[in-house]
Structures are given as structure tokens and as C-alpha cells.
């Protein structure tokens, strides 16, 4: 079950969506079986997903789970 987000938990869902043909939040929601509101909350760091949902998100993007969720500072998305 999801829980209150930890302050240090970050994710790259928004970045990964745009890297995958600018997938919309609704498309991602449909693929992983949640509502669009949940995707919005995830991207904003307001909600931590359950482990099964985290795996489904990673599988949807074809990456490892640690490439979607990180503890600590988010990696720079626009390196100079």
C-alpha cells in the first residue's frame, strides 16, 4: 500500500513520459491500471506507490525500478 511520501523520495515519471513519445498522463494511467489523478500525485511527489505499481511503472517505461524512483536528490535532467 502507498504511504505518505518521504521527503527524500524522488521520481522521474514525468521525464520518462516525455521520453516515451510524450506519453500523456492518461495513457500512462491506463497502462498501469490507475487513475490519472494518481499519476498526477505521483509526479508531484505527493504519493508513494505500492511496490507492484512501482514495478508496473518501470516495466511500462522499459527501465529498472531504480531508474524511476530514487532516494535523495533528483538527478539533473538538463545537464549543461
Amino acid at each position: 500500500m502507498g504511504s505518505k511520501p518521504e521527503r527524500s523520495m524522488k521520481n522521474r515519471i514525468r521525464r520518462l513520459r516525455f521520453d516515451h513519445d510524450e506519453m500523456t498522463q492518461q495513457e500512462l494511467a491506463d497502462r498501469v491500471g490507475v487513475s490519472r489523478q494518481t499519476i498526477i500525485a505521483l509526479e508531484a511527489g505527493k504519493y508513494l506507490p505500492s511496490l507492484p505499481l512501482a514495478f508496473r511503472l518501470a516495466a511500462t517505461f522499459g527501465v529498472k525500478i531504480e531508474d524511476v524512483f530514487q532516494i535523495g536528490e533528483p538527478e539533473a535532467e538538463n545537464p549543461a
Binding site: M1, G2, S3, T24, Q25, A29, D30, G33, V34, S35, Q37, T38, I40, A41, E43, A44, K46, Y47, P49, S50, L53
Partner: protein, 136 residues
């Protein structure tokens, strides 16, 4: 708006209808106005908001988490209110050897239901309100 949010607003609407009906009828009908509690039966239609629609997720894990926390909060509040009335208010109003009128006992069942559903619905809406802005 999710199905759970619609459900919460619906319950608050039914509660408002019930209380306003009782409030309006009480000066005219006296205790007969308590029949207005019958409107609470409309809450039985609430589950219709969760009917499965093709291709649409009606309730996901976040909704379930919010619903669970809301029920926990509502029952905690209900317990506090119930204990306060049973142990403190009833004693101070009717005395330790007094008798509580039957209509109050009957009404307390409906009031308890209102407290639980109102607190749960408010908690649901507050939790969604704290979530992210609804933007792409």
C-alpha cells in the same frame, strides 16, 4: 473528480438535506420532524458511483488508501463524540440516576451515522485537496 470524491460530495449532500429537513420541520412537527432522518437511506445509493465502466479505473490503490484513512479518522471522531455524550453529557443533563428518553436513543443512532459519514467524507475531500493540482 474521482468516484470517491463524488461519493463524498453525495454523502455530504444527503446529510445536508437530512439536517435541513429536520431543522425546517421541527418548529412545525416537533419530534415528528425526526422522520427526516429517513433521508439518510439515500446513502444506500452511494455505491452506484463505483459501478465498473469499461476502460476506466474507478478505484485504484491511492483511492483505497485515502478511503481507509478516512474511515479510520471518522470512527475515531465518532468514538470520541459517542463517549463524550454517553459519559458526560447524558449524566450532566439527566443525572446519574436519570433516564434517557427513547427518542434520544433512537436519534443517537442516526446522529452517529451522520458523524461517521460526514467526517469520512470531509477527510476524503481534504486528502484529495492536499494532492497535486489537476494539470497535465
Amino acid at each position: 473528480m474521482t468516484a470517491l470524491q463524488k461519493y463524498a460530495w453525495y454523502n455530504l449532500g444527503v446529510i445536508a438535506l437530512t439536517l435541513s429537513t429536520i431543522g425546517l420541520l421541527y418548529p412545525v412537527a416537533g419530534k415528528g420532524a425526526l422522520g427526516g432522518f429517513g433521508f439518510l437511506g439515500l446513502m444506500g445509493l452511494g455505491p452506484l458511483f463505483f459501478r465498473k465502466k469499461s476502460g476506466k479505473v474507478m478505484m485504484d490503490e491511492r483511492d483505497e488508501s485515502i478511503a481507509k484513512r478516512s474511515w479510520n479518522f471518522a470512527f475515531a471522531i465518532f468514538w470520541v463524540v459517542a463517549v463524550m455524550f454517553a459519559a458526560l453529557v447524558s449524566t450532566s443533563v439527566y443525572g446519574s440516576e436519570g433516564a434517557v428518553p427513547v427518542w434520544i436513543v433512537q436519534s443517537s443512532v442516526f446522529v452517529g451515522m451522520i458523524v461517521i459519514y460526514a467526517m469520512s467524507s470531509i477527510a476524503i475531500l481534504v486528502q484529495y485537496g492536499r494532492g497535486a493540482a489537476d494539470g497535465q
